[in-house]
């Protein structure tokens, strides 16, 4: 067999091998790209990181609470509130726990109730003229229960009733605060940094039957 044939055969083999390797690389990269374009993540991950429909990344956490107890959201209540705060909070600091982003959530473990609850919160608006009011929508277990407009720097007591239908079944209360007028630290800043309220205290009282 002439050497030129061996060389030619070797060259053809090398070329074919090169094409095969290039095809394998390209194919692998296409498959990986296809996998990446179809993420296998839960709804919380998707909402926060991918769809960006919330600024509040839900977490698997729940705090303990006893009815009738006033919980301080200032520095002195840090230990108690740590388990309750799911997302969208910064602090606590001396003047309360600051909201962060467009939604904040608290979650508490409570016994099932036949009657409703009265919630009493002390809150203050974060204001920066021209934004001098903060509209806050409060939902419990996904049901809108109260809307309030806070104005001025002074804390204000906000009370509302959580209807029996909302608390009859579940053993946890998921309280969401949605802010319509959050103030970003700068015009170009991400909405995860918006500020709206300071929560100073929180209390739940069962409504007495009759």
């Amino acid at each position: 067999m002439p050497w030129s044939d061996i060389s030619g055969r070797y060259q053809r083999g090398a070329r074919l091998g090169g094409y095969a390797l290039a095809a394998v690389l390209a194919g692998t990269e296409i498959v990986i790209l296809a996998l990446a374009l179809n993420p296998n993540v839960n709804a919380d991950y998707r909402a926060y990181y991918i769809d960006r429909t919330t600024t509040c990344l839900n977490r698997d956490a729940v705090g303990s609470y006893t009815f009738g107890e006033t919980v301080s959201f200032r520095s002195d209540g840090a230990k108690k509130t740590a388990g309750m705060m799911i997302c969208g909070w910064s602090g606590p600091v001396a003047d309360g726990t600051h909201s962060l982003g467009e939604t904040s959530r608290l979650r508490l473990k409570v016994p099932p109730l036949r009657d409703g609850l009265t919630a009493t919160l002390q809150m203050a608006a974060v204001i920066r003229p021209p934004q001098v009011t903060q509209r806050v929508m409060i939902s419990v277990n996904g049901v809108r229960v109260h809307a309030v407009t806070l104005s001025g720097k002074e804390p204000r007591k906000v009370s509302f009733v959580i209807p029996p239908a909302v608390v009859a079944e579940p053993s946890t209360l998921d309280i969401a605060f949605d802010y319509l007028d959050g103030i970003p630290p700068s015009p170009a800043a991400s909405n995860i940094y918006k500020r709206a309220i300071k929560l100073l205290s929180f209390r739940l009282d069962p409504i007495e039957p009759g």
Binding site: A36, Y48, A188
Partner: protein, 387 residues
């Protein structure tokens, strides 16, 4: 006579070889001395370990975390929104591998590895600097004893990024496309923008093809007829794709490194607006530019140097550097100074430009060495423009 004529170039060659090896070593030592003096001026705690720890600022802590604990799954422990996924794996993996052999604290191993990478980057730069000794001295001084030398000697990705970028461009200079592809693959696992170097590879292929008289329109067909070049192109982003696959398998989201930027507060915007906002952030007191102004200036200088590269017909390097500046600029000016000084083609160009005359060369060398002290103090103090 004939023997002398042979011996002299050999002796000259040996001298140059020794100089090429020794110059960066000198700057390794001088850089360590200057930065340590800066550290000692602000810290009461002596010792190399304390020094290495003091220089470990900002992103360094993330790389230490990855090197020691790897990447988190989701949900992230400690109820955090911010995963380590945004930080690419190659350099922390390298440090973890070395630490498994030399069981010292991570930051010590990383600092020594960074110095070694930067030293190697200097050696690789020698042929890229056209064997211009003045430019080489300036480049080595800049990396190892310069105003931003802390970026190249602590646990950040810059040392490996500069080394691998230099390897890619050296391979391209020698038309060694497979070597360029393999270096690019590693580069794309070091930082996201590393993957962009594939465009420089394709541009160099095109230039080589044109130099051989090939018609422009036939380039795609010629390329398809060269399986070795196709392998070089497709292997270039392999590091990035490997990381994407890893994230898909562990987090469930292959693009977690992009999506996690939300938790860092990065939002897409107009790069020109970010530059304008940065330049407009005038100091309220004194005359020193503010951190946003430094960042905006760094971006502009980087883009101007990229344009000079293009004028010098280094189109691949120009495109790579411009993209590496513009891509992060789409989110904001954060870390812009570090990103620009970490672009090897730009710093090499700067060294070439400053070495054209002896006075500029000496002035630049003096400036680099003296600025090293003050900039290290600023870095340790957490000056925002250096992040």
């Amino acid at each position: 006579m004939a023997l002398e004529a042979v011996a002299r170039p050999n002796a000259g060659g040996r001298f140059i070889a020794v100089a090429v090896v020794a110059v960066p070593l000198v700057f390794v030592v001088s850089g360590l001395a200057i930065r340590y003096a800066a550290f000692a001026s602000v810290s009461a705690e002596p010792g190399f370990a304390a020094y290495a720890q003091a220089l470990c600022r900002w992103d360094c802590a993330w790389y230490v975390g990855i090197s020691e604990h790897g990447y988190e799954r989701f949900p992230i422990p400690a109820q955090s929104n911010v995963g380590r996924w945004g930080f690419f794996p190659l350099y922390p993996m390298l440090v973890a591998t070395i630490r498994s052999v030399f069981p010292f604290p991570t930051i010590l191993v990383a600092s020594i590895t960074s110095i070694a990478c930067s030293y190697a980057a200097c050696l690789v730069a020698w042929p890229l600097l056209e064997k211009n000794m003045r430019a080489y001295v300036l480049y080595c001084a800049f990396l190892l004893s310069g105003p931003f030398s802390f970026h190249f000697t602590t646990f950040l990705t810059e040392p490996l990024f500069v080394l691998l970028t230099s390897c890619v461009f050296l391979a391209l200079k020698r038309s060694s496309y497979l070597a360029a592809g393999l270096s690019s693959a590693l580069l794309s696992a070091t930082r996201l923008v590393g993957v962009l170097v594939v465009f420089a590879t394709v541009i160099q292929m095109f230039r080589d093809y044109r130099a051989k008289g090939g018609p422009t329109l036939s380039f795609p067909r010629w390329l398809l007829g060269r399986p070795d070049l196709l392998v070089a192109i497709f292997i270039s982003p392999a590091g990035l794709f490997a990381y994407v696959l890893f994230l898909h398998l562990t987090v469930g989201d292959g693009f977690a490194f992009l999506h996690v930027q939300r938790a860092f507060g990065r939002v897409a915007g107009n790069p020109l607006a970010f530059i304008w906002d940065g330049l407009s952030a005038v100091p309220t007191t004194g005359w020193l530019p503010t951190a946003p102004q430094w960042s905006a200036l760094a971006a502009l200088i980087g883009l101007a140097l990229s344009a000079i590269l293009a004028v010098r017909r280094q189109y691949g390097a120009a495109l790579f550097c411009a993209c590496c500046i513009i891509l992060p600029l789409v989110t904001n000016l954060a870390s812009m100074v570090r990103y620009v000084v970490g672009l090897a083609p730009l710093t090499m160009l700067l060294a070439m430009l400053l070495s054209v005359s002896k006075p500029t060369y000496l002035a630049a060398l003096g400036l680099f060495l003296s600025a090293c002290y003050f900039m290290t103090v600023a870095w340790i103090g957490g000056y925002l423009a250096l992040v």
